[in-house]
């Protein structure tokens, strides 16, 4: 693979070795391990990924989560590759000058996350008269680009100031120029070392055949979940099959009857390409982990793990999403509401993978995604709710509510939906339905929240939704 412009062999790595450990073993110790689970961003690096126009984007990802083998044939840049102490990169210069580093341990990661945003092709300064959102700088810098980086020293203000005063790349900027050429093509890989085997199949059919022949094979997309298992729980899967670069899994098509989203398209890509066309998802994305995670994490992964606290299921349940499951024998389509069968259990067969998610059209008119967590950026939800309602003539004509964090699986709140449909959208209905919603599921108490709080949040979430629709309609009428 190419690191900071130099070819380096995948020597010394095992199938389980993370990109971070591999980088450090090759002498590039700029990237740090702060948490080994994709929470702190001290390991962030840039990866050359394909953009929509045949060119390249510089995408910041957590090196601690990605297996080194998954980067075979790819190009990456670390803080050392951005600049040197004698010749700082513009991002590094701003960070240093603003007092953006104190202990400096998180700083190389911040530099990479910041550089990813610096090179974002569609980053544009706010035009005069534009309302500047508090999470965007006047230079168009999206603060969410740094949502996956933790700093324990500075309190963040100087880092934000550095980010918001960045200009645009100069004409002779090599990394900027690199964007106009294609990203490295996926490289089929079959790598065995250290008691593990990593396979990147050349095609979807090859992947499906592998799944058919090797039922214990573990599917890998962004590695934002498996990476944590590898690092924190010592998981060493004997066979990993990487599917995130298969073109069939990276589609996004808006049709007449549904929107189809490839299961392995990174969430950031989905967010960018949908560009607000699915308002419920537009609310979800900024609350889903961090940009560093969304740059690798996928719908397929979030659904594939079957976790009851994944953030996409409540939203997708509310959208009435269906999944396309593919196997060597063909494809089938299932309703997401029927997909989860138990704690981390689903109806997906061992020989199947999730190829795509289909969101039926037209979309409901009133939608919202509510996530209850301690932190606004990068947190795991205590409970999460997706709402999709149709209200016609003041009456609720359809309702779908998805819940996460209240049971062993994500749930549809059928009883609450029934308490809404056919009734007027008013305080009485909402209060009654809120009481029903409050008793949906069987939330538990843990370190994130008590069961009582979780239940109350379900009920209060509907009240909050109602309150926001009332305020909006007032604004409309005014």
């Amino acid at each position: 693979m190419t690191v900071n412009g130099r070819q380096r062999p995948l020597q010394g790595a095992t199938a389980h070795t993370t990109a971070l450990d591999w980088l450090r073993d090759t002498g590039l110790s700029g990237s740090k391990e702060g948490c080994a689970e994709g929470e702190c961003g001290a390991c962030a690096m840039l990866v050359a990924t394909p953009d929509d126009n045949g060119g390249t984007s510089w995408t910041a990802v957590n090196a601690c989560l990605v297996p080194a083998a998954a980067l075979n044939g790819q190009e990456i840049v670390t803080a050392e590759g951005l600049g040197s102490p004698d010749e700082l990169h513009p991002v590094q210069e701003k960070l240093a000058e603003a007092g953006g580093s104190q202990c400096g341990y998180c700083t190389p990661g911040f530099a990479c996350s910041m550089a990813g945003e610096y090179y974002r092709a569609d980053r544009a300064p706010a035009a005069a008269g534009d309302e500047v959102c508090e999470e965007h700088g006047p230079n168009g810098f999206d603060l969410h680009a740094l949502s996956g980086n933790l700093c324990r020293c500075t309190g963040y203000r100087p880092i934000r100031d550095a980010a918001y005063t960045l200009g645009s790349p100069e004409a002779d900027d090599e990394l900027a120029a690199r964007r106009s050429r294609p990203a490295p093509a996926p490289m089929p890989t079959d790598f065995s070392s250290g008691g593990g085997r990593f396979i990147r199949p050349a095609s979807l059919s090859e992947a499906l055949d592998l799944l058919h022949d090797e039922p214990t094979a573990l599917l890998l997309a962004g590695s934002t979940d498996l990476g944590v298992e590898v690092n924190l729980r010592g998981r060493r899967a004997p066979l990993v099959v990487a599917i995130e670069q298969l073109p069939e899994l990276r589609t996004l098509e808006i049709g007449e009857e549904f929107i189809e989203i490839g299961a392995a398209l990174p969430l950031s890509e989905v967010e960018r390409r949908l560009d607000g066309q699915v308002p419920l998802l537009a609310q979800l994305f900024p609350q889903f982990a961090s940009r560093l995670i969304r740059n690798r994490g996928t719908f397929g992964g979030n659904l594939g793990t079957g976790s009851p606290i994944g953030d996409t299921p409540p939203a997708l349940l509310a959208l009435g999403a269906r999944l396309v499951l593919a196997s060597a024998g063909g494809e089938r389509e299932v309703d997401l509401a029927d997909y989860f069968t138990g704690y981390r259990q689903t109806i997906r067969g061992a020989d199947e993978l999730i190829r795509a998610i289909r969101i039926p059209l037209p979309l409901a008119r009133v939608t919202a995604f509510h996530k209850i967590a301690k932190r606004r950026f990068d947190d795991i939800s205590s409970v999460a709710l997706g709402f999709a309602l149709d209200i016609e003539g003041g009456v609720v004509t359809a309702a779908r509510i998805g819940l996460g964090g209240v049971a062993a699986t994500p749930l549809r709140a059928y009883a609450t939906e029934a308490a809404l449909v056919g009734r007027p959208w008013n305080v009485a209905t909402v209060r009654a339905a809120s009481a029903v919603l409050q008793s949906e599921g069987t939330p538990m108490s843990d370190h994130r929240a008590s069961s009582e709080y979780r239940s109350l949040m379900l009920g209060s979430s509907l009240l909050k939704l109602y309150s926001s629709t009332v305020i909006e309609s007032k604004e409309v009428s005014a």
């Binding site: 700082l88 202990c103 949502s147």
Partner: protein, 817 residues
Amino acid sequence: MSALADRPANPVVGLRAVHESAALHVTGAAMYTDDLAAHTAGVLTAWPVQSTNAHARVTVDVAPAYDVPGVVRVLTADDVPGINDAGIKHDEPLFPSEAMFYGHALVWVLGETQEAARLGAEAVKVDYEALPSYITVSEAIAAESYQGIARTVERGDAAAALAGAPRVFEGVTEFGGQEHFYLETHASLAILDSEGQYFVQCSTQHPSETQEIVAHVLGISSSQVTVQSLRMGGAFGGKEMQPHGFAAIAALGAKLTGRPVRLRLNRTQDITMTGKRHPFQISWKAGFTEDGLIQALDATLTADGGWSIDLSEPVLGRALCHIDNAYWIPNVHAYGRIAKTNKTSQTAFRGFGGPQGVFLIEDILGRVAPVLGIDPAEIRRKNMYRPGQSTPYGQLVKDADRLEAIWQRLVDESDFDERRAEIAAFNAASVDTKRALAITPVKFGISFNFAAFNQAGALVHVYKDGSVLINHGGTEMGQGLHTKMLQVAATALGLRLDQVRLAPTRTDKVPNTSATAASSGADLNGGAVKNACEQIRERMAKVAGRLLGVDERDVRFEGGLITGLGKFDESLTFAEVANAAYLQRVQLWAAGYYRTEGLHWNPDLMKGSPFKYFAYGCAATEVEVDGFTGAYRVRRVDIVHDVGDSLSPMLDIGQIEGAYVQGVGWLTLEELRWDETDGPNRGRLLTQSASTYKLPSFSEMPEEFNVRLFENAREDGAVYGSKAVGEPPFMLAFSAREAIREAVGEFAPAGHSVELGSPATPEAVYWAIEAARSAGSASVAATSPAADASAEHDPTGASAGSAPAGADVPALATTEA
């Protein structure tokens, strides 16, 4: 020698300087201890076998580890040639026969790779013979499980004053600890060199003590061990006492294998093995006049020290010395004790007990103000120290008038009154969202309570070419100490900043150093560096005087040039004079030394003047609270803080901002939850990773953040008129907690006392809102008598913000006298 606080013309101190390693930080070129290991050939990795029992006698069978390929050696108690202890109090066996907490390291496996060491550790067999354990403070109190010496701070007659006070309140205040979460976990790298010398690179705030522990574990003298602390990726007190054992493990491994040994804890190991900020449980009774003047405070503070004593005694001492915060309390009786529990051994953390002491008085004021019908800002202001008053332990509050001056400046600059009015209008129109703006002061004593630590050394070399290399005993953890020391040296020698270099902190350069702690790093080491530089400057002045034809007293060093008074046309470079001095056989290097004068303290009586001076500040924080969820946002923060005459303004502002946000993390977000059940995982830390223990991220940064330094603030007792800055601003974060409390109060009728769990997580805030909403028209004054309140208070749940039942327990009660 010039006076300590005097600045020469055009000093380099006081200029805005970027961190000396900034260019290395941003490019990843800055090396940390484990980065050095990554560049060291043949290094072995150490991995712990951790107890899975909170308290048990253990029998360890290490033989199976040797069957794992790549395992080189398992270190056990039998391998220790010296003393099997990781601390200076001799209550921390390095290889214990009794596991004292869940996560306690029992033995260490050395492997060719991390994978081998980890698998080797997994293979080690441990048998546990379970013993009774205490996880919560309440359990320890019930079992009378204490450690160390209990202390009392006393002034006047608190009991009599309480009996005579018009209004008396009492309650229980309880709050959790805090994980340091320095981004760089504990790390050591030990090498045994060809001369039998141990060179230990260690992420430590206290290299000399690390050196002593390594020596006593290995049974050798301190002179055979050199410890270097290159730089730390954050420390915050967590690397003051805790690194020693890890360094000793690495050194022992190097001794037994002859190979370099690295030990770096991963995040989960670090969180589950190392100490944290002390949680406290405090029962209290406070007397007030009708118009809100504090008359008396009686309190029992129980610090949760964890399994060993560590720094718990001085932490408790500082807590007891800060229960007044910035307020005059005429009658005080404060009794402090240390619980012994089967948890990590709690240790130093930014503020070192100060935040815990301040918590009490701010909590009391925030809870009683509505009941007394007094604006919380007003009750705070009227109780602040006035000039001439002294603390409960008998120290005059020097420069007390600064408190009022800082407060007033903050009120003016933050548009406090106008914004209060805007907020009132907002709240009147908003049912589900409420805002509040709160202001709190801080007064924090500077110096180590342990007098011997108030000394420092430095070593300054001037080479023949005029270049300067400085060394001092302080360590760099991100606070910018090295940058400030370069500024001090450049000022003292009349050089430009770029003419001075600094070498890493090593015990073979400056011996017997103090921990870089208690915010005193710049005060102490700055004094020593200045002293060394001035010795050299005086010798060079003699040489320059002869060259310039002026008396040595008329020689001036400034901007890299050396001139004589009145000799406008003639100047020498520093290098010219250095070279001339060498040729004239004048010594061009010096050892500097500093000790803080005038301190005295009697720990048995808890009386004296332990602090050289006090650092002051005030913060005004505006928050918005969501009534549906309890979630909140910090909308705007204004701070005016006293750092004396700043040595380095950008670094000082960085310390203030960082401390504030870290304090907000402790008070609102960061939550340590332990398994308190009797199940198989009793004593296990449930929040042991970055995904479960949440520190402030970008979303917790104040949307508007204005920090200003108090001006014309010369402190005569410290180097170049500056003041310490590391810890004091941490306590400015109480303004955020009090703002949340006031916003919650907006959901209740006037007069409702808001009890807020700590940390004030969204869930804890939600329960407080629920209590506020259901308060009805009856004020807390009408609720049950005090004795019931503390008895009813559920110490394990209510204050942790987790038990909804606790939310409507009236823990604050008042009795009409």
